[in-house]
Amino acid sequence: MRGRLHEWSHDQEKTSILHWGIAVFSNVWKQLKVAAELHAAELSRPRACQTGTHQTHDGDIFKTGLPGKIRRPFLSQEEGTMEEKLEGILARYQENEGNLISILQDIENEFGFLREDAIYWFSERLDVPPAKFYGIATFYAQFHLRPRGKNVITACCGTACHVKGSERLINSLVKELGIAQGDDTSEDLKFTVEKVNCVGACSIAPVIIINKTVNGKMTPDKLMKEIKTLKEGKREYTDYI
C-alpha cells in the first residue's frame, strides 16, 4: 500500500497531507480510468534507475503513487538498509500524526543530513513534489543538505555569548580544525562547526556544545583542550553530560 500520512486535522479542508494526498489520489484514479489503456503500457515499462543523478521530476503525479507501481527511487549500494530505515520512518507516521517537517526531522536524525535520495523516496511515496520538501528544508536552520562531520561542534551566538566573545571561539575552532572559508565541515568529515542563535544557557556564556554536551564559560584554551581529547578519541561526547 502506498504511504499515507495521518494528520490530526478535524475538518475536510485540504490543509493536511492526508487530505491533500487523498484528493490527489482520487483525482489520479479518475484520470486513470479514462486513459487506462493508454497508460498501461507506460506503467508496466520499467523505469530507468539512476544513481547519483536525478531524473527530472516531471510533476506528472498520476504516474506515481499507484499500488504496486511505485517508481523505484535513486538508491545507492546500501539500498536494503536504507530502504528499511525509510520504511520505518514512514510506518511511524501511518500510526501517528506527522507532516513534512517531522519526516525531514526524522531523515536528519537517521542520516545526519537530508539525503537527496531519501527525499525523492518520500516524494514518490507521498505524492508530494520534492520542491515542497526542499522549500521547507531550506527555510529552517535545523536542516542540512550536505553531510556533516562525525563530531558536531555548535557555537552559541546568542547575545550573551556574543558580548562574551563567541566570535573568537569560532575563529579559533575553524583555524584549529582546518575548515575552509565559507564551509562548515572539515574535508575528512570529522568535524562540523556550526553556529546556533541561542541555546538558552546564557548565564554560563560563552557556550560551546560538543555533540550533545553543553560546555559553559568557554575560553579558547579550554576549547582547544577539548578538541584535543576529541581528536585523540579519549572521550566520547554523546549525551547531555
Binding site: 475538518d11 513534512l100 521547507i136 527555510f139 541561542c198 541555546v199 538558552g200 544557557a201 546564557c202 554560563i204
Partner: protein
C-alpha cells in the same frame, strides 16, 4: 539515626553542564556507602531539581536535614564525601562551600510565582509537584467553576501575555470562548528564539507540570479539546522532560478523555520547532505546525478567528500559562496586588551579559531597572561601569545607564524606546560598542527574516550593509539620517512583528549613542575598542619583557622578536583578534 534527609541537586541545562549528574550519582554512592540510606530508609532522598536561577554558581546543592536547609555552591563530585561526613553524619555544615551573602541578596528582592516551584520540585516526578499543591488548581477549576468564571478570574488578575506584546490573556480567552465551533486549539508557544532569553527553557525544564496545568485550565476555559506545545528542538532536555511530564499526567487521568470525571477531554501534543526565529510569530507558528514554511500571513483574520487548520486558535507563551495555576489557587486579587497599575504580577527575566550575578530572576512589575542591576545582579563584572541594558532581544532596544531608574513594565519600557519582549536582559558595559551591538542584532534579523515581504527582506539587508560599512571605517556623511529614514520605513511597512521591530536596536542606539556613530563615521574610531577594522595593536617597548607569551598565542604569526627582547607586531599580518592583548601580563600591548 532518626533523621529526615533530603538532598536537592540543580539539574537544569546549566547544572548539568557544570557536572550535576556526576554530583548526584556521587551523593547516591557516598550515602549508600556510609550506610545512611539503610539506617533512615525512605526518609533519605536525593532529588534532581530544575533551575533555581543562579546558574553561574552551579552545581548548587541543597542539603535539608529535618527541615533545616543549607545550600552549597560550585560543588564538584569529589567534594561530596566531605559534605556527607561532616554535614550529614556529624551535623556540622562545611562552611567553606556554603553560599555566601550574595546568594541571599540575589534572592531577597525577587518575588517568585512562576519560579516558586522551580528548584524545589523534581521535574521528572509528578508526585513531587502534587505534594507541593500541584494540580489543585485544575481540580478547583474543573469541579467548581464554569469556563466563563475561569476567564473572569484571569481578566481580574490583569495577567498579560508574557511573550512580548503584552496582550491581556483574559481578553484573548474571552474572544476564543465566543468563537463558534466545537474544535478549537490551544497552543503553548515555547519557541523561545530571542537570543539572550531562556526563561521558557528553565520553566519547562524545572517545572513542566505547571505549564501543562496552565494549558489544561486554559483549554477548559476556551473549550479546546486539543493542545500543542511548540518547542525549540535546540532544547533537548526540556523536550525530554516535557514528554515525560505529559505521559505522567496522562497516567493520572489529568489529560485524555473525561478529565477528573467532568466530561472534559483534552490532549496535548508536542511539536518540535526546526529553528526559525520568525516562528515565534503566531501565524508563522501555525504554518509551521501545519508542516509548511513558517511564514507569517496578514492579520486579520486573527488566529482566534481562523488559526490552526482554519479553526479558532489561542497561542499563549510558556510563562503566561505557568502563571495560571498560581492565579487560580491564590486568587486574582493576590496576583493583581503585585506590579503596577497596568502591568500586574511578576515577570521572569534572564539577566545576562557583563553582570556579576547572571541568572534567571523573577521580580514584581514596575521594579526600577537599577535595583535589578545593582541589588539582584550585584553590579557589573570586573568593577567596570554600566553602559546600557538591552531588553527585548532583537526587537528591543538599549536603555542607557543615564535612565537606569526606569521602572520595568510594559509602558515604561515602551516609552524609552525599548520593549519588555520575552524577558531577555543583556547588560553591556563600557567595553561594548553600541554600533556593533546594533549590527549584531541586524545580522540576526536579516538572516531570520522569512523573506515574504519586501520591506523586511530587503530593508534589513540594506540596514545591515550600512552598519557594516560604518563599523569597517567606510561610513559616509548622511549615513545616520539614512539609517533613521530606512528604519522608520521598515517599521511601518513590514508584514509581521519581526520586521516591524527589527529597526528598534538601531533607533534606540542612535537616540542615546549618536556620538558613537559619529566617532565611527567621521573620526574612523571605535570609542569602545571593539570594531576590528578601526583598531590596531602595537607593543610598547618599555613594558615588553620578551616573554614570548604573545608570540605563542598569536594565531596569525604576526608577532616577531627574540626572547627577552621587545617584540613587534607586523601590522599587515595582524588579524586584530586581541589574543595578545589578553595574554600579556605586563600591559605591554597597546590597543587603539
Amino acid at each position: 539515626m532518626n533523621k529526615d534527609i533530603s538532598i536537592k541537586v540543580c539539574m537544569g541545562t546549566g547544572g548539568i553542564a557544570a557536572g550535576g549528574v556526576q554530583v548526584m550519582s556521587s551523593f547516591e554512592k557516598t550515602l549508600a556507602a556510609a550506610g545512611i540510606k539503610a539506617s533512615v530508609e525512605k526518609n533519605c532522598s536525593v532529588h534532581k531539581v530544575g533551575c533555581r536561577g543562579f546558574c553561574a554558581r552551579d552545581v548548587l546543592v541543597d542539603v535539608i536535614i529535618n527541615g533545616d536547609k543549607s545550600t552549597y555552591q560550585y560543588i564538584k563530585p569529589d567534594m561530596v564525601e566531605r559534605i556527607v561526613t561532616e554535614h550529614i553524619l556529624e551535623g556540622a555544615p562545611v562552611s567553606d562551600w556554603l553560599v555566601k551573602d550574595d546568594y541571599h541578596t540575589f534572592h531577597d528582592k525577587q518575588v517568585k510565582v512562576v519560579l516558586s516551584d522551580c528548584g524545589e520540585v523534581d521535574p521528572e516526578d509528578i508526585d513531587s509537584y502534587i505534594s507541593r499543591g500541584g494540580y489543585e488548581a485544575t481540580k478547583k477549576v474543573l469541579t467548581t467553576m464554569t469556563p466563563q468564571e475561569t476567564i473572569e478570574v484571569i481578566k481580574a488578575s490583569g495577567l498579560r501575555g508574557r511573550g512580548g506584546a503584552g496582550f491581556p490573556t483574559g481578553v484573548k480567552w474571552d474572544m476564543a470562548i465566543k468563537a463558534p465551533g466545537p474544535v478549537k486549539y490551544l497552543i503553548c508557544n515555547a519557541d523561545e528564539g530571542d537570543p539572550g532569553a531562556f526563561m521558557d527553557r528553565s520553566v519547562v525544564e524545572g517545572n513542566p507540570h505547571a505549564v501543562i496545568e496552565g494549558m489544561i485550565i486554559g483549554a477548559y476555559a476556551i473549550g479546546a479539546p486539543y493542545g500543542y506545545v511548540y518547542i525549540r528542538a535546540e532544547y533537548p532536555l526540556a523536550v525530554d522532560r516535557l514528554h515525560l511530564a505529559l505521559r505522567q499526567a496522562k497516567e493520572r487521568g489529568l489529560l485524555g478523555k473525561n478529565i477528573l470525571g467532568k466530561g472534559f477531554d483534552f490532549n496535548i501534543k508536542v511539536k518540535l520547532g526546526a529553528g526559525a526565529f520568525v516562528c515565534g510569530e503566531e501565524t508563522a507558528l501555525i504554518a509551521s505546525i501545519e508542516g509548511k514554511r513558517g511564514q507569517p500571513r496578514a492579520k486579520p483574520p486573527f488566529p482566534v478567528q481562523k488559526g490552526l487548520w482554519g479553526k479558532p486558535t489561542i497561542i499563549n507563551n510558556v510563562e503566561t500559562l505557568a502563571n495560571v495555576p498560581y492565579i487560580m489557587t491564590k486568587g486574582a486579587a493576590w496576583y493583581a496586588s503585585m506590579g503596577t497599575e497596568k502591568s500586574k504580577g511578576t515577570k521572569v527575566f534572564a539577566l545576562t551579559g557583563k553582570i556579576l550575578n547572571s541568572g534567571l530572576i523573577e521580580v514584581p512589575m514596575g521594579i526600577p531597572l537599577k535595583e535589578i542591576i545593582y541589588d539582584i545582579g550585584g553590579g557589573i563584572e570586573g568593577g567596570r561601569r554600566l553602559k546600557a541594558v538591552q531588553t527585548g532581544g532583537p526587537s528591543g532596544g538599549c536603555i542607557p545607564a543615564s535612565i537606569v531608574d526606569t521602572p520595568v513594565d510594559y509602558e515604561s519600557l515602551g516609552k524609552v524606546g525599548s520593549i519588555m519582549g520575552s524577558g531577555g536582559m543583556v547588560v553591556l558595559d563600557e567595553t561594548d560598542c553600541m554600533v556593533n551591538v546594533a549590527k549584531y542584532f541586524l545580522e540576526f534579523t536579516k538572516s531570520e527574516s522569512c523573506g515574504k515581504c519586501v520591506p523586511c527582506r530587503v530593508g534589513t539587508k540594506r540596514l545591515l550593509e550600512i552598519l557594516t560599512r560604518i563599523t569597517e571605517g567606510r561610513g559616509r556623511e548622511g549615513d545616520i539620517d539614512l539609517l533613521e529614514t530606512l528604519s522608520s520605513d521598515v517599521k511601518t511597512s513590514s508584514l509581521c512583528g519581526l520586521g516591524q521591530t527589527a529597526p528598534n536596536p538601531i533607533l534606540s542606539t542612535i537616540k542615546y549613542y549618536r556620538d558613537e556613530y559619529e566617532a565611527h563615521i567621521y573620526e574612523k574610531r571605535c570609542p569602545a575598542g571593539v570594531c576590528k577594522d578601526l583598531l590596531s595593536y602595537s607593543i610598547l617597548d618599555e613594558f615588553c619583557k620578551g616573554c614570548t607569551a604573545c608570540m605563542r598565542v598569536c594565531p596569525a604569526g604576526a608577532i616577531v622578536g627574540e626572547k627577552k627582547k621587545p617584540h613587534k607586531i607586523i601590522q599587515d599580518i595582524c588579524i586584530k583578534c586581541g589574543a595578545c592583548f589578553e595574554t600579556c601580563k605586563f600591559k605591554a600591548i597597546k590597543k587603539g
